[in-house]
Assembly symmetry: C2
Homo-oligomer: 292 residues x 2
């Protein structure tokens, strides 16, 4: 079956975007809707990045684009050029203040059915939203975390990349609804620690760091990479390996990371209390978090 | 963070839809684009059904709507009413000829982040496309199948329902590119048989049917249910259970099913040849396939 597909691109009222609403949406550089034939919608056939921007500059932009390119390579989606993406982000990111910049890249429109088009035309979706303003206490006094019942399915072919198939995280969030916690802890199908609902997790035990290797599932966060590189710079031993839930409960320090909030100490996990540890504080200071 | 979201709904040129292109797209009953904030795009947070229509009637419509409702229940998406969906399909399905009707139901638009909105407004996407016109030989002489290297991740919370997170099937199709096969066979992470790339799989051995139970992964197809019910009517013993790859190679008959093509005998699997078996033919005759 072949089909010429309708382009669903129509201009939205730009004033509506810049005015009432607090998210600016651009699809392939234009303020329009998504083609209903887009494979990002049909099959989760795409990737995304969520980035912190300050005064028009994206923090860790190169690392975000590295991960996006790695995801495109693994899914065989032609990666949009870094210069195009950078130019598009810079053109729309406010010069002053902090915002969240989310970029979705899909395989683009296709005819019905799983087989991807021979020559895909990827879709870029850029969303610029207001900064969440995380409470200062999360940095100073830490966050509360519950272990979710739902476990992450394991598929090495999809592990590590930030693809669009995220129903597991959505169901985990449904579990946490109404609970006074800032992250859920997700285990993998084998029962090992995988990640936070929207973060990566680190433990400190005997002065050494460990974080799940994420070879079977989970997302290798940009902040996770930044922390691992900081450990090398600070001469802190850090390992990517399997981490058992009991190791978390027995750790000296636990912290979670993502590219928006940076580093949050975990001071309560399923009722077990932790202090804000010296190694966690050292990394936070080194990377400029928690002193806002 | 709260955000009033831009509505991405703009009318497409209706003549373009009905004229040049061969897929009619409707979003919430209107010929428009998808809101870029839709969680179906952001997270694969939704479900779909692909249905066969003849002369304005959907075959197995009740079973498709049953599965959609079960999926909505499990994902906690408010299910659109059956009468609304039926009315919408009937209003747009051509009165004459065969078409494919695809329905996507997502949790609708949301603000950035995995936590679903408290009161979601689901999005309905209806796509009416031309019928694939499967070769008659697939029914008479069977199809060729290769086992894919990629295995399905296992998650009982998502098993059985037809959700939008389908990158595994997309990657499996990438593996099969250029190969002269009509379906790929997908195993689960445990190494058991799960499904075809876009079908369910049955074996016949000693006059008895077996099909994977799909408790850990895979989609419980409407045609799979129809075949299991036909077995009861025809007094053929059929079991839903774990099926090992070796059982397929050792089976008397193998066939695959989906709601569009119905039943296809498998006459070659990874080089092993099968005949078109008597039980497969009996089911095809009973259900009206292969005599077009």
């Amino acid at each position: 079956m072949t089909a010429a597909l309708p382009s669903a691109t129509r201009r939205l009222d730009q004033s509506r975007i810049r005015g009432i609403v607090n998210t600016l949406w651009l699809v392939n550089g234009q303020p329009t809707g998504i083609d209903p034939a887009d494979r990002g919608l049909a099959y989760g056939d795409g990737l995304f990045e969520t980035m912190a921007a300050s005064d028009g500059r994206i923090r860790w932009l190169d690392l975000h684009l590295d991960r996006l390119e790695e995801g495109c390579r693994r899914l065989e989606i032609p990666a949009p050029s870094r210069s195009l993406l950078t130019k598009e982000i810079e053109a729309h990111c406010p010069r002053k203040g902090r915002v969240v910049v989310k970029l979705i890249v899909t395989r683009g429109p296709g005819v019905r059915g799983y087989p991807p088009p021979e020559s895909p035309t990827p879709t870029r979706v850029l969303a610029i939203s207001q900064w969440p303003d995380y409470p200062d206490s999360y940095y100073r006094h830490g966050i509360s975390v519950r272990t979710c019942g739902l476990r992450l399915g394991e598929n090495p072919a999809l592990a590590g990349i930030k693809h669009l198939c995220r129903l597991e995280q959505v169901l985990a969030q449904l579990e946490l609804r109404g609970q006074p916690v800032q992250q859920g802890l997700m285990l993998d199908a084998s029962g090992a620690v995988a990640q936070g609902t929207s973060s990566n997790v680190f433990i400190v035990a005997g002065g050494e760091l460990a974080t799940p290797s994420l070879a079977r599932c989970g997302i290798k966060g940009v902040m996770r990479r930044v922390v691992l590189e900081a450990c090398r710079a600070l001469d802190i031993r850090a390992e990517e390996r399997d981490v058992a839930p009991a190791e978390l409960l027995g750790a000296d320090e636990v912290f979670m990371t993502n590219a928006l909030f940076g580093i949050w100490p975990v001071t309560e996990l399923d009722g077990r209390r932790f202090g804000v540890g010296a190694t966690t504080e050292r990394l936070m200071t080194h990377l400029g978090y928690g002193h806002a």
